[in-house]
C-alpha cells in the first residue's frame, strides 16, 4: 500500500528502475503491516519522559531533517513535516520579539537604556507568558474531558512512514512521526484502539469503556464502537474549539499581567545570583542591613514571585478604573471561555435526537447484522 507509485510516467519509471527500496530484512518482513502504534502505555506510565521524547524528536527534526528535505524539494516531504516545521517560526519569532525589545538597549545611554530595559523585560516576560499560558490553559478543558469521557485529545501514536528512495538513498527509508490519534476530526485513528491489550482483552475494550463514560446503557455497550465513535468525534471537535478559543484569551491575559509596572523592577542579574548562590542568605541579610535592594541578592524565584503577585493584583485592581475593569474583563473572558468549554465539551447536545452529522447513527439498523472491518 505504501509503495503505490501513482502515475507511471517516464520520469517515475526512471526512479523505480533501481527500486529495491533498500529495505532491510526486518522491514521487508513487515512490508504490508501497519506498524503504527498507540503510545498509550508509554504516556500513562511515563507521561513526562514520553512527552519530552516526542517533543525533542519533533523539535530536532523541525530544525534539521525536515528543513533539509524541504529545501531539497524532496518527494517524501509531507504535511506532518510542514506542520512540525511550524515550531520553527514560533520559537525563533518568540526569541526575536524578546531580542527586538532588549538587544539594542545595551547600546543606548541611560536613561534611554533604563526605559528600554523596562519595556524589554515586560515584552520578554509577555512572550514567555503567552507561550506558557497558551499551552497550559488547554489542560483546563482537556483534563476534565479525559477524566469524564475517556477521550484524550493529545493521545500520541507512533506512525511509521515508508519513504520513496531518493538521491541514491536506498537504505534509510523508514521514518517515525509522532501524531495524535485525534489530530484529525475527519479521520481520527480509531483503528489503533482495536485489539489494544492495554484497554483489555476484548477487541473493542476502549470503546466499551468510553461508551460507559458517555452514559450508554448496558445493552448499547455491546455495539459500542459504532455508537460511541460519533460521540467521541463531537467531543474532540468541541474540545478543540474551546481549547483554541480559551487558550488565546489566557495567552492575552498572561501578556496583560506581564505588562504591569512591578516587573520593571525585576532584577534578573544571573551573574550575581549565581555567584551568591551558596551563601545567599548571609549576603541577603547583609544587603538588608546596609539598606541595599535585597531583591538583587535574594533567590530569583522570591523576587519573581513577589513581582508576579503584585502584577496580578495590579492587573485586576488597577488604580485606573477603566484598566481595572478591562483587566477583569480579559481574565473573566478567559475563565468564562474555559468554563463554557467544559460545559459544551461534556454536554451531549445530540443525545436525544441522535447525531445528524454522523450518517452511521441514522443509517444503520442495530437489529441487522453488520460487517465490521
Amino acid at each position: 500500500m505504501v509503495y503505490s507509485v501513482g502515475v507511471q510516467n517516464q520520469y517515475n519509471k526512471k526512479l523505480y528502475e533501481h527500486a529495491s527500496f533498500g529495505k532491510k530484512e526486518k522491514d521487508k518482513r513487515s512490508k504490508c503491516e501497519n506498524h503504527d502504534a498507540l503510545l498509550i502505555e508509554e504516556k500513562t506510565k511515563h507521561p513526562i519522559s514520553t512527552s519530552i521524547k516526542i517533543q525533542t524528536n519533533k523539535l530536532a527534526n523541525a530544525f534539521t531533517k525536515y528543513p533539509k528535505k524541504g529545501f531539497m524539494g524532496s518527494k517524501n516531504a509531507n504535511f506532518y513535516e510542514y506542520l512540525t516545521m511550524g515550531m520553527v517560526p514560533y520559537l525563533i519569532g518568540s526569541g526575536m520579539l524578546i531580542g527586538v525589545f532588549n538587544f539594542a538597549s545595551k547600546f543606548f545611554d541611560t536613561p534611554a537604556a533604563v526605559n528600554s530595559a523596562k519595556l524589554g523585560k515586560k515584552m520578554g516576560l509577555g512572550v514567555l507568558a503567552y507561550g506558557i499560558l497558551k499551552t497550559l490553559s488547554k489542560k483546563f478543558i482537556e483534563v476534565p474531558v479525559n477524566l469524564m469521557r475517556n477521550v484524550d485529545v493529545n493521545l500520541p501514536y507512533d506512525k511509521v512512514v515508508y519513504e520513496l528512495p531518493e538521491n541514491n538513498n536506498k537504505d534509510n527509508l523508514v521514518s517515525h512521526e509522532y501524531h495524535k490519534v485525534f489530530e484529525s476530526v475527519d479521520f481520527p485513528r480509531f483503528d489503533l484502539f482495536y485489539n489494544n491489550k492495554y484497554f483489555g482483552e476484548e477487541r473493542d475494550a476502549y470503546f466499551k469503556k468510553t461508551a460507559k463514560k458517555f452514559g450508554f446503557k448496558e445493552e448499547d455497550v455491546e455495539h459500542s464502537d459504532q455508537k460511541v465513535k460519533p460521540k467521541i468525534r463531537e467531543t474532540v471537535v468541541k474540545t478543540r474549539l474551546f481549547t483554541t478559543l480559551s487558550s488565546y484569551l489566557w495567552a492575552a491575559t498572561g501578556v496583560g499581567v506581564a505588562m504591569q509596572k512591578p516587573w520593571e523592577s525585576l532584577i534578573i542579574n544571573p551573574k550575581t545570583r549565581l555567584a551568591n548562590f551558596k551563601n545567599y542568605k548571609q549576603i541577603a541579610k547583609q544587603a538588608k542591613e546596609q539598606g541595599r535592594n535585597i531583591a538583587k541578592y535574594n533567590y530569583f524565584y522570591k523576587d519573581f514571585g513577589n513581582k508576579f503577585v503584585e502584577s496580578c493584583k495590579q492587573f485586576i485592581n488597577n488604580n485606573h478604573k477603566a484598566t481595572k475593569y478591562a483587566g477583569r474583563a480579559l481574565l473573566g473572558a478567559a475563565v468564562g471561555m474555559t468554563i463554557l468549554g467544559n460545559i459544551f465539551a461534556l454536554h451531549d447536545f445530540n443525545k436525544d435526537k441522535g447525531s445528524k452529522t454522523q450518517a452511521s447513527t441514522s443509517l444503520i439498523d442495530d437489529s441487522k447484522e453488520k460487517v465490521i472491518c
Binding site: 510516467n9 517516464q10 520520469y11 526512471k14 528543513p67 524541504g70 529545501f71 524539494g73 518527494k75 516531504a77 504535511f79 510542514y82 516545521m85 511550524g86 520553527v88 517560526p89 514560533y90 520559537l91 519569532g93 526569541g95 526575536m96 520579539l97 531580542g99 527586538v100 538587544f103 539594542a104 543606548f108 545611554d109 534611554a112 476530526v185 463531537e234 468541541k238 478543540r240 474549539l241 483554541t244 487558550s247 488565546y248 492575552a252 505588562m259 488597577n318 485606573h320 477603566a322 484598566t323 478591562a326 480579559l330 459544551f344 447536545f349 447525531s355 452529522t357 450518517a359 452511521s360 441514522s362 443509517l363 444503520i364 441487522k368 447484522e369 453488520k370 460487517v371 465490521i372 472491518c373
Partner: protein, 778 residues
C-alpha cells in the same frame, strides 16, 4: 464510512430513508454507489485577496464557531477557527493595552502593533517568497483551490495529496515555459507538475525557516516608521476636535452627558447615604471634592468648603436652650434664684448672644470659691458653645437641595471648562504629544539634520559633548547656503507655531474663558453662592479661575516662543563670532564702559557669549553666570549681557538678511520685532535680576532696572537651553538610528538571503536533466 457503505450495500437496493445533507457519494441508474462528480477548481492566482472575500471568509468562520460548538466542524473549519481565535485574542490584548496606556500615541501604537504583526505575518511570505517565485518560475506556492464542498484550501499544503491535476493547460504551459521544460519532452505535463510541487515544497520550507526572523523584525520596523506620522495625525485630530468641541459645545455631547448623568447618580447616592451626617469639616471636604470635580483647581474647592460651612442654621439662644445645654453641671433651680440684677444681665447677654456673659452670670450665681466659680464658668461656656455648634451644623439632608443646586451650576461649568482645557492642552499643554511638544521635537530634528552629523558625532552630542556642538554650529554658520536653509526651515516651523498659538488663538481662549466663567459665576451669584462665584471670576478678587487659565496659557506660549528666539539667537551669535562681528560688539561695549581689554579678554567674552546662549539656565543668569563656571567681573558680565540682549548693540543685521531671504522683508521685520521684544524682556527680567542670595553678585545688573518677574516668568523667558534641546534630540536620534541599523540591517540581510535562496528553487535535478537529455536524443 466503510461501515456505512457496507450497511447500505447489505441492504441493497434499499436507499436510506434519511440522508446526510451532503453525502460524499451518489447512485447510478441501477442504484449502485458511485463517487460524486468533482467540483474542485483552482481559484484565480492572486498575491493579495480582496476585502470582500476576506469579509465573506470571516463571516463563514464566525458561523463555523457555532457549528463547532455543537461538535459538527471538520478539520478545515477548525484550522480556520484557530487563525480567527489568534487574531481575536490579540485584538483583546491590544484593546486592554489601549485602555491601560495613558497617552494617545501609545494607545494608537497598540493597535498599530497588532495590525503590523499580522500584516507582517501575511506579507512576508507573499512579498519575499511567493511573488518572486511566481515571477521567476510561474508557480504560485500559495495557489488556492476550492474543493467539492466549497472549502478554500492551499493547493500545495500537503505534498502527498497531489492536486496538480487541477492545473489548466494554460497554467501548465506558462509554468513549463518559465521552468524551461523542453517542449518535446514526453510526459511534459507530469514533469511540470513535479517541478511545481518541488518548488512549492521549497518555498513553504523557506517560509517556515524565515518567518520567525522576519515577522517580528518587519512588524517592529513598520511600527518604527509609522510612529511619527501617527503622532502627527493624532496632533491634527486633537487640534481640530478640540476646536470644534469647544465651539459646538461638545460638553453637551452624548459622552459628556452620560458622564454628567453618572456623576449626578453618584452625588445623589452620596447625599442619600450621608443624609444623617452633620456638616462637619470632614463631610464638607468630601462634598467639596465631589462638587469641585477634577477639572477645577484646589482653590475652587476651598471656596466650596467656605460656602458649605456658611450654610449654618441660626440657633436661638434662650433660657431653655441654656438649661438644656448645661444639664446637671449646674443646679437647675439656680435659674429661679437669680437676683433681679443677675436676671437683667442674663437677659441682656442672651439678647446679645454672648456666651461669655451668660456663663459669667450663671457661674457667679452658684455658691463656691472664686476658683471653683472660674472653673464652672469655663465648663458652662464650653457646654453652651458645644450645644450651639451641634445645633448650628445642619444635617446633610437639610441642605441637600442647596448642594444639588450648587452642583448643577458647577457641573455645567466643569464640562465647559473641560472642553476649554482640551483646546488649550492640545496646543500648549505641558505633556508629550501636544502640538507645542511635537513642534519643539520637529525643530530639534531639523536642527540635527542641518548639523549633518555622523554616528560618532551624534553619539558624542547625545552625551552632551559641547565641543562637537560648537564645532558643528560653527560649520553651519560658516556655510552661507546651509545657514540660510536652516534659518528658512526654522522660520517655517516658527511660523506654523505662531499660526496655532498666536494672538487670534490667545484671544479665542481669553474670550471663551470669560464666557464660561462669567456664565457660571452669574448663575452661582443668583443662587446665592457668592464665594464660589467670586472664585470663578470676579473683578475685585485676584487668583480667580479665569485669571489662572489666562496666565497659564500665556506662560506656556511665551516659554516656547522664548525657546524659539533663543535658538535663532544661538545660530546668529555663532555666526557673528565667526565673522568677527561679535568681537566688534564686545570691544565697543568695553570701550563704552571704559574698560581696558586685550584680545584674550575678547576671546574669553566671545566664548562666554556662545556658551551662555547654548547652555545657560535661569539659575545661571540669577547667579550672574557664576554657577555656569564663568568668573566674570561686573563689567565683563555687563558686556556679555549687552552683546547678547541689548538691541542697541546687537542690531541683528546678519539675521535680518538671512530672514529676508527666507520669509520676505515684511515677515522678517515682524519676526525681528518679536525677537527684539524678547531681548528687551530678557534684559529687564533675567539679565537684570537682583539676587539677594549671593551678596557679591546681588547688586550686579546691566542697566540698573529693578524687575518684578517671578521665578516662573524668568524661567519662561530664558527658554530651554539649546544644548539640552540638541542633546535630547541627539539621544533620541542616535538610539533610533542604532536600533534601525541593527534591525534594519538584519532584516535587509534576511530579505537578500531569502530572495537568493528563492533563485535556487524549482531547478532541474540531475536526474531530470538526464531524462531531458535522453528524450532529446530519442
Amino acid at each position: 464510512m466503510t461501515n456505512v457503505l457496507n450497511a447500505i450495500i447489505a441492504n441493497k437496493p434499499i436507499r436510506p430513508t434519511v440522508q446526510d445533507k451532503s453525502p460524499s457519494f451518489t447512485f447510478d441508474s441501477e442504484g449502485r454507489i458511485k463517487p460524486l462528480k468533482d467540483k474542485g477548481k483552482l481559484l484565480p492566482s492572486k498575491i493579495f485577496g480582496s476585502p470582500v472575500e476576506y469579509a465573506k471568509d470571516l463571516k463563514q468562520d464566525v458561523l463555523n464557531i457555532g457549528k463547532a460548538a455543537k461538535g459538527k466542524a471538520n478539520d478545515h473549519e477548525l484550522g480556520r477557527i484557530n487563525d480567527l481565535a489568534m487574531k481575536f485574542g490579540s485584538l483583546c490584548l491590544a484593546t486592554y493595552l489601549f485602555i491601560k496606556n495613558p497617552l494617545k500615541l501609545s494607545k494608537a501604537m497598540e493597535f498599530v502593533g497588532f495590525g503590523s504583526f499580522f500584516a507582517s505575518m501575511a506579507l512576508w511570505p507573499k512579498l519575499a517568497i511567493q511573488a518572486p517565485l511566481k515571477v521567476r518560475t510561474g508557480v504560485d506556492i500559495h495557489q488556492k483551490y476550492i474543493d467539492s464542498q466549497g472549502r478554500k484550501k492551499m493547493l500545495h499544503q500537503d505534498p502527498q495529496y497531489d492536486l496538480t491535476d487541477l492545473y489548466s493547460r494554460e497554467d501548465l504551459d506558462k509554468m513549463g515555459k518559465k521552468l524551461n521544460v523542453s517542449e518535446n519532452l514526453p510526459d511534459r505535463d507530469d514533469f511540470i507538475k513535479q517541478r511545481a510541487k518541488k518548488t512549492a515544497i521549497q518555498g513553504n520550507t523557506l517560509w517556515m525557516a524565515t518567518a520567525g526572523f522576519a515577522t517580528p523584525l518587519m512588524s517592529a520596523l513598520i511600527c518604527n516608521r509609522l510612529e511619527k506620522p501617527i503622532a502627527k495625525a493624532i496632533e491634527k485630530y486633537d487640534l481640530i476636535s478640540s476646536s470644534v468641541g469647544m465651539e459646538k459645545g461638545a460638553a453637551n455631547g452624548p459622552i459628556s452627558k452620560l458622564k454628567q448623568h453618572l456623576a449626578q447618580i453618584s452625588l445623589n447616592k452620596f447625599l442619600q447615604q450621608n443624609a444623617d451626617r452633620v456638616m462637619d469639616d470632614k463631610l464638607v471636604s468630601e462634598l467639596a471634592v465631589k462638587l469641585g470635580g477634577k477639572a477645577n483647581s484646589a482653590t475652587l474647592q476651598d471656596a466650596i468648603k467656605e460656602e458649605l460651612k456658611s450654610l449654618k442654621t441660626n440657633v436661638k439662644l434662650d433660657e431653655s436652650f441654656i438649661r438644656a445645654a448645661v444639664g446637671d453641671k449646674v443646679p437647675q433651680d439656680i435659674f429661679n434664684t437669680l437676683s433681679e440684677k443677675q436676671r437683667t444681665l442674663l437677659n441682656k447677654s442672651i439678647a446679645e448672644g454672648s456666651v461669655r456673659g451668660i456663663s459669667d452670670i450663671i457661674a457667679s450665681a452658684v455658691p463656691g470659691t472664686k476658683h471653683e466659680q472660674m472653673q464652672l464658668k469655663k465648663t458652662i461656656a464650653s457646654l453652651i458653645e458645644k450645644a450651639k455648634t451641634s445645633q448650628e451644623l445642619p444635617k446633610l439632608s437639610v441642605i441637600s437641595d442647596k448642594v444639588q443646586s450648587m452642583y448643577s451650576s458647577l457641573s455645567s461649568f466643569a464640562s465647559e471648562k473641560a472642553m476649554l482645557d482640551k483646546f488649550i492642552t492640545a496646543r500648549v499643554g505641558d505633556k508629550s504629544g501636544t502640538y507645542i511638544a511635537n513642534q519643539w521635537g520637529r525643530v530639534g530634528d531639523k536642527l540635527i539634520k542641518s548639523l549633518k552629523l555622523n554616528t560618532a558625532e551624534l553619539k558624542a552630542l547625545s552625551q552632551g559633548n559641547m565641543d562637537v556642538l560648537m564645532d558643528k554650529l560653527s560649520q553651519l554658520a560658516a556655510n552661507e547656503m546651509e545657514y540660510d536653509k536652516t534659518i528658512n526651515d526654522l522660520m517655517r516651523l516658527i511660523g506654523d507655531y505662531e499660526s496655532k498659538t498666536g494672538t487670534p488663538v490667545v484671544s479665542r481662549i481669553k474670550q471663551k474663558a470669560q464666557d464660561i466663567c462669567s456664565r457660571a459665576s452669574g448663575d452661582l451669584q443668583t443662587k446665592g453662592f457668592s464665594k464660589v462665584a467670586d472664585k470663578i471670576t470676579s473683578s475685585s478678587q485676584k487668583g480667580t479661575l479665569e485669571t489662572v487659565i489666562n496666565v497659564n496659557t500665556a506662560e506656556r506660549i511665551s516659554g516656547a516662543q522664548s525657546s524659539f528666539y533663543r535658538l535663532i539667537q544661538a545660530i546668529d551669535i555663532i555666526k557673528k563670532s565667526k565673522d568677527g562681528k561679535l568681537n566688534q560688539q564686545l570691544s565697543r561695549i568695553l570701550k563704552e564702559e571704559g574698560q581696558k581689554f586685550d584680545i584674550a579678554t575678547l576671546e574669553k567674552l566671545s566664548k562666554a557669549c556662545q556658551k551662555v546662549v547654548l547652555t545657560a539656565t535661569t539659575t545661571d543668569y540669577v547667579e550672574k553666570l557664576k554657577s555656569a563656571g564663568f568668573e566674570l567681573s561686573e563689567v565683563e558680565y555687563k558686556a556679555v549681557m549687552k552683546a547678547l540682549f541689548d538691541n542697541k548693540i546687537d542690531t541683528a543685521n546678519t539675521l535680518e538678511q538671512s530672514l529676508s531671504k527666507s520669509v520676505g522683508t515684511e515677515r522678517a521685520q515682524e519676526i525681528l520685532q518679536g525677537f527684539r521684544n524678547y531681548k528687551d524682556e530678557f534684559m529687564n527680567k533675567v539679565a537684570n535680576w537682583q539676587n539677594g542670595m549671593t551678596k557679591d553678585l546681588s547688586r550686579r545688573t546691566v542697566t540698573g532696572i529693578t524687575n518684578s518677574a517671578n521665578a516662573v516668568e524668568r524661567n519662561n523667558i530664558a527658554g530651554k537651553p539649546i544644548k539640552n534641546l540638541i542633546q535630547d534630540v541627539a539621544k533620541q536620534t542616535y538610539n533610533s538610528q542604532k536600533w534601525l541599523k541593527i534591525f534594519g540591517t538584519t532584516f535587509a540581510a534576511l530579505t537578500v538571503i531569502t530572495l537568493a535562496l528563492g533563485l535556487t528553487f524549482g531547478r532541474k535535478s540531475k536526474m531530470e536533466k538526464q531524462i531531458e537529455e535522453e528524450s532529446k536524443v530519442k
